[in-house]
Amino acid sequence: MLKKTNSFVFTILLSFISITLFAQEEGGKAEMADTMRSNGKIYVVVAVCLTILIGLLLYLIRLDRKISKMEKLGGGGQ
């Protein structure tokens, strides 16, 4: 179990490996003068997309559970 937790933490950490490379960035920040941002409604889009993503993931978890149950029953299921 500890090994699994370690590899989980490791994956998360490794995927942020580029954080160290910020030192090479130049001072100039990217300009964000687009309408998409200025009206501040981008959070609506984030919320919508998150809802879709979480919905899909929940569906996937449910499927996973169902298949596990079928595996336990030894095939048949229905």
């Binding site: 994956t11 580029s18 998409m36 981008i42 959070y43 993503l53 993931l57 996973d64 298949i67 596990s68």
Partner: protein, 231 residues
């Protein structure tokens, strides 16, 4: 549910991708503007497709070595999820291209002509069509062992064809698609450091999602064909 650390990692990374992908600042390039955020979605589909096809090819080789049917099932399911990812990459790419490549001052058909000639698009279409043929081949042979053997050989050929059609030929011809001189998303010099912090987790997250879906399909197949696979 089979609990695995990578399923949790997939969920966390994908949620992070959506939140950070939309909210983190990105460099405002003249042509792309905010659409560069598609890098976290469109490009990741192709990465996931490539990884899934690789796993599929490895399973085909395994089948030819050990002739265990489970490897054939795995090869088929990984290839089918890979195709789904590829189609999503194609669809998202066509939306992206129609707002960044097409010239709004010209009638649509004028831009259409140059977009249709894109070597990257033709190459990707070829690669996907070759994989479609893999499934035509699979479903046309009724004998299980023969199907497994023939489709394993074909799958290795299809994987080999990926390289000229999506990696080599598009780089030899002029194209509007980025990536002419190398691997744009992987080149340390031309992707913004802030974007890399979202892009790499996004690639891992979407790939894990593909793997998750595939493992479910494999498990379902194992239940359905229990007496054949006796696994």
């Amino acid at each position: 549910m089979q609990k695995s650390w990578w399923k949790i990692a997939c969920i966390i990374l994908l949620i992070y991708t959506i939140v950070a992908g939309f909210l983190m600042p990105v460099p405002a390039l003249r042509q792309l503007q905010e659409t560069i955020r598609n890098l976290y979605f469109h490009v990741c589909m192709w990465f996931a497709m490539m990884i899934l096809f690789t796993v599929s090819a490895v399973n085909s080789i395994k089948y030819l070595r050990h002739t265990k049917l489970i490897h054939d099932v795995k090869a088929g399911e990984y290839a089918s999820t890979g195709i789904v990812m590829g189609l999503l990459g194609y669809a998202t790419g066509s939306i992206w291209a129609s707002y960044t490549w097409a010239d709004p001052n010209n009638p649509a058909y004028a831009s259409f002509g140059s977009i249709v000639r894109e070597p990257k698009l033709i190459g990707a279409a070829m690669a996907l069509l070759i994989y479609f043929a893999y499934f035509v081949l699979r479903s046309s042979i009724t004998d299980i062992d023969k199907r497994a053997r023939v489709s394993a050989v074909y799958n290795i050929f299809a994987y080999a064809m990926l390289f000229p059609s999506i990696w080599i030929v598009p780089r030899l011809l002029p194209s509007l698609h980025p990536g002419q001189e190398g691997n744009p998303a992987l080149n340390f010099n031309d992707i913004d450091a802030g974007m890399r912090m979202v892009f790499y987790p996004a690639v891992i997250g979407w790939t894990l999602l593909g793997v998750w879906i595939t493992t479910l399909k494999i498990r379902l197949k194992k239940i359905a064909d229990k007496n054949i696979l006796h696994a």
